[in-house]
Assembly symmetry: C2
Homo-oligomer: 190 residues x 2
Amino acid sequence: MSLRYGLLGLLAEGPASGYDLARRFEEVLGQIWPAQHPKIYAELRRLADEGLIEVDAEGPRRRRAYRITDAGVAEIRHWLTAGDVDHTIRVQPLLRSLFFWLMQPDDLRRHLDEEARFYAESAARYRAFAAAKDRGDYGDSPQVRSMRVTVEAGIRLYEALADWATWAGTVPPTGAGGPPADADPDPELT
Amino acid sequence: MSLRYGLLGLLAEGPASGYDLARRFEEVLGQIWPAQHPKIYAELRRLADEGLIEVDAEGPRRRRAYRITDAGVAEIRHWLTAGDVDHTIRVQPLLRSLFFWLMQPDDLRRHLDEEARFYAESAARYRAFAAAKDRGDYGDSPQVRSMRVTVEAGIRLYEALADWATWAGTVPPTGAGGPPADADPDPELT
DNA sequence: AAAGGACATGTACTTCGGTACATGTCCTCA
DNA sequence: TGAGGACATGTACCGAAGTACATGTCCTTT
């Protein structure tokens, strides 16, 4: 359901084609809210059927740009204020971390190094984005200010994960490595 | 695919039934890796078919506990070391934040307050969990130490989000509220 | 003895996201 | 002028996740 509102929200900034929207999703939301172009085109058609967006212009290579309608703006505003927030975050690396005790210490060390590097790079990427915005490279519309807030969340999230991976690699003697614990494993569960 | 390894990993700690696993997923992973019981039972059957787990015991009310096999341990170890990490995190609140400029300032303020509270509570819940572990309430097996690492990530993630929501509510005069910008909206995209 | 609640497992259906594959269009550069 | 690449849109299918609904079992309490 969120893709729908993602598209609506981006279109609220101005007309765009499916291709544009796919690019924007990739740019800003690549890691935070991925969307594939087939889904985008399909959803745009559905939104158009419901009158929440309409064709704005047809361009060169079959390009079709859409514009948000008043009904569409009302719809996304309603979602933003009345819709309830989905707080589930699926973070595969955290699921993995539950099972670190199954890894050989040096495999674990390597894994955590890579993770830390990845998150640090992501944070840096968002930080660069934020710096560009703070320099005024994108002007100062309300949209840009909102984007800046989103980017700040990205920075903080990735910094937190980078710090965590670093901490996990150094602080506790986490990994075990040996054979699976077969001596009285968690009797509470049997 | 991750549910599969989640189950395998939990079973590596000791035998458990689908019901136990559903409870553990809910307890520890509730917000970070949700799983519904129908999926769990189905996946357990599939894992048993493939010989990665086997029936350990049948209990009272149709209860069927599974035990991980050597092949299962090998499988999850392989996933942990050789499988590649999925770094996509879907955070709906961040998607929403891109569109804060569409909200009325007081709606936005209310929204951010609620978000901050929610994240702070989540962080506190994980912190309590961590404190119990550090007190030694759960003993000190490798499994418990891994869980502690996972919990630490939860704490840091939720603290980061709580701080972010608070910051977003106070620092910048984010929201706009007025009508959708129809004066030259993002010409780069048309 | 009956009733209610926690324990325990499942089927069926829907929706959503991901991947593979296919196609058409225009511009640029050798 | 022909080839390659970016632009642009789509179909088809699959697998994962979510929701609703259904059922059976055992224990505790009144």
